[in-house]
Amino acid sequence: MNIPSSITTLLLGIGLTLVSLWYGQNHGLMPVAASEGATHIDSLFNAMMTISTGLFIIVQGVIVYCAIKFRRKPGELGDGAAIEGNVPLEILWTAIPAAIVLWISIYSFEIYNEMGGFDPSADGMHAMHGMPAGKGSAMAATMDMGDVPKGSPRISALGVGASPANQGKAAAVNVNVLGLQYAWIFTYPEINITSGELHVPVGKEVQLNMNAQDVIHAVWIPQLRLKQDVIPGTETQLRFTTNKVGTYPLRCAELCGGYHGSMVTQMIVHTPEEYDTWIASQQQSAQAQAEIVKQTIAMNPANLSPAKYLAPYANEMGVKPEMVEHLHHQGMEMGGSIASVIK
């Protein structure tokens, strides 16, 4: 007794759909999502995984099926059927993928909007957005230092901006990020803190205003699914709101030289109380640091090699000694610039 092929096809189709739907939700390939934006991106990824699983199974299935079913048996003569095409079928397999990619595009568009990709303040037309004037001495120092191009103000602030709900408002926490071979320096202009790690309070909107000193770097926080190149001479920004307390890696994702792989630091998401404690402890030690900086400057850092000069700060900022040594090899004049950041 034969089961009609239409029934078989139907059952296979249902099975395929179920498997795809299940795997699309349960692949477990993504790391923890630490923000709402990350959850959005994950749902986009899950949707794409669902479709992909289906397509993958269809294509591989057909290949394997053909290899078994239509294999030429030993001694078999003759050709296959002389079918040169089937226009309705071809239209079908043009239209379905077209509809799928269109749908993915629209979905991506929405998610992108949700993330803040269309924030007008991040569209490249607003220079120096969100930088508090007056108190921004640290950022001013960052911008003016060393080899960073000065003079012409540039169109800037590209990246991911505020989500639609928060647009037009300033972020709760502003952090200026400087990427340099091979470390990150985070400055909190409102509270005068400089750190080698990114500390943020959970649930508050954070804005990173990013610049690079030497070559292109990229900030990547996998748990936030966010990445943005950090380009010398052009300011870029990222805005996000975390929703999970924890410690997450913050990596450089754009090739920036030999020790690119070790240009890693941490993003620590605190509860509000912890965050306040951290600020207090930092401000204390910042005062102590300022003393050291004064003394060092009195020593005239120009006479010291950058590596030697930087050594006391290196630990403080989470920079590994070998990198400082490497900077020295690069022959970069960084002493002054770091000092001005720390100041």
Binding site: S152, P153, I155
Partner: protein
């Protein structure tokens, strides 16, 4: 697409490839002009890339040309433009001449075109030497020198092409009504160089 090949299976490869070289062009219609035009499309894409890069730099800069760049003199490049555009008309006369089998006419007009090309290059060098900015002064200066220089390189190649055709025609070579690939190629190339210059002139001097 005709040509007897029946005896070629036996001959060894060296003589075969020789025979190929010597009458390779007679085996099939001459596609060299077609090939040249395809090549010039590719060549044009280099310029197009550079032009777009120029426009991108321009649109990204807050001020263009950057503050402190001396204004470009229009007189000399203007004359240069007229000379180069005129030379396109002149070189076309050569083409007309050779199609009437007039080798003397070809030599006259080619000689004149080469001369005009050399005057253009001279004018260009004169302009370079009197500009108040150097290659590294700013982004505008760099793009200016690289674009005009790269074009100048093409003019030089064009002049050399014209001169080599001229030299070959002097040596009593084969140009005539039915055989003027070299003449036509040099002419097309020269027109190409001309068109590029017009775009370049508008971009750099007028915009």
């Amino acid at each position: 697409m005709q040509g007897s090949v029946s005896d070629q299976t036996q001959i060894n490869i060296e003589s075969a490839s020789e025979s190929h070289d010597s009458h390779g062009h007679h085996e099939h219609p001459d596609f060299r002009i077609f090939g040249l035009i395809v090549f010039l499309v590719a060549e044009g894409m280099i310029f197009l890339g550079l032009f777009i890069a120029y426009l991108a730099f321009r649109s990204m800069a807050p001020e263009w040309p950057p503050a402190g760049t001396p204004k470009l003199e229009l007189m000399l490049p203007g004359i240069n433009t007229v000379i180069l555009l005129g030379s396109s008309l002149v070189i076309h006369q050569a083409d007309t001449a050779i199609k009437k089998n007039d080798v003397k006419g070809l030599q006259l007009w080619f000689g004149l075109t080469a001369l005009m090309g050399i005057i253009f290059l001279g004018g260009q060098l004169y302009e370079y030497s009197h500009l108040e900015f150097g290659l590294r002064t700013n982004l505008f200066a760099s793009t200016f020198y690289v674009l005009t220089g790269f074009h100048g390189l093409h003019v030089t190649v064009g002049v050399l092409l014209i001169l080599s055709v001229l030299w070959r025609s002097m040596k009593g070579e084969h140009y005539g009504t039915n055989n003027h690939f070299g003449v036509e190629a040099a002419e097309i190339y020269w027109h190409f160089v001309d068109v590029i210059w017009v775009i370049l002139f508008i971009l750099l001097y007028l915009l």
